[in-house]
Symmetry: C2
């Protein structure tokens, strides 16, 4: 358990919150595919990691409301990036699966991010990058799965 009587952790969260919010805004501007929002890209990434998922599961993982995920999934389907199938056990639910086209887009996304990475590399030294690499899995955990 953390000792909240010390100010250090509160300050760290303070700094973390502010940095994450502003960095998210920067990240929005270095989109891979201008026609896909950050959340839509994130859904494709989640599907690539987890395989298939229902719209409800995706909504919970991405922290958006179900109606938002309905719209996102519908858009991704029209672009041929996901496939929608009936759920085997429950006819209310659907199963969302990413397509090979989504896989190719994620690969292209990675290539483009390398360019962004190279640009940022000038601003950070190796020690700083090491700290980021170490923290990335923890941030993923905070972001909840």
């Amino acid at each position: 358990m953390l000792d909240l009587s010390h100010g250090a952790d509160a300050d760290a969260v303070n700094s973390l919150r502010s940095a994450v919010m502003r960095l998210a805004r920067r990240l929005k501007h270095q989109r891979v595919d201008e026609s896909l929002s950050p959340t839509e890209m994130s859904v494709l990434g989640t599907l690539a990691r987890c395989g298939s998922a229902t719209p409800g599961e995706l909504a919970r993982k991405e922290h958006v409301q179900p109606p938002s995920m309905t719209r996102i999934v519908a858009l991704l389907e029209t672009k041929g990036l996901v496939r929608l199938e009936p759920h085997p056990d429950d006819r209310r639910q659907k199963v969302v699966t990413s397509t090979g086209r989504a896989e190719a887009m994620l690969e292209e996304s990675r290539r483009r991010r390398n360019a962004w990475l190279a640009e940022l590399a000038g601003e950070l030294d190796e020690e700083e990058w090491a700290k980021l690499r170490a923290a990335a899995p923890v941030l993923e955990k905070l972001a909840h799965q």
Copy 2:
């Protein structure tokens, strides 16, 4: 310089990007004051750190366009959280300064974040927190400023 021929850094940025976007969405939901957006809170934090700034400087620091900052500053002024004064040297510019009321709100913000922190503490061990604390300044640097 980073060695981009290895996939490790690209993967780290991949993970980082995804986590930052989703964490930003979670953070949006644990607002201190429901009437202030994350950017508006961030502006108050920036002013608390940097003292005064012009709207143009704030727009660059927060990575929003000048018209957005105009609206934000106007809202904060109506709430008595910032004070607007004429620039001493340039009559086109203005000087934005945070008020004691903003300071009190930031203090309250810190207290509330402690509660959020305590909740998250159950999900992380001390080593994970150490990694976050180490990475926070680097994230701030990436977020620019």
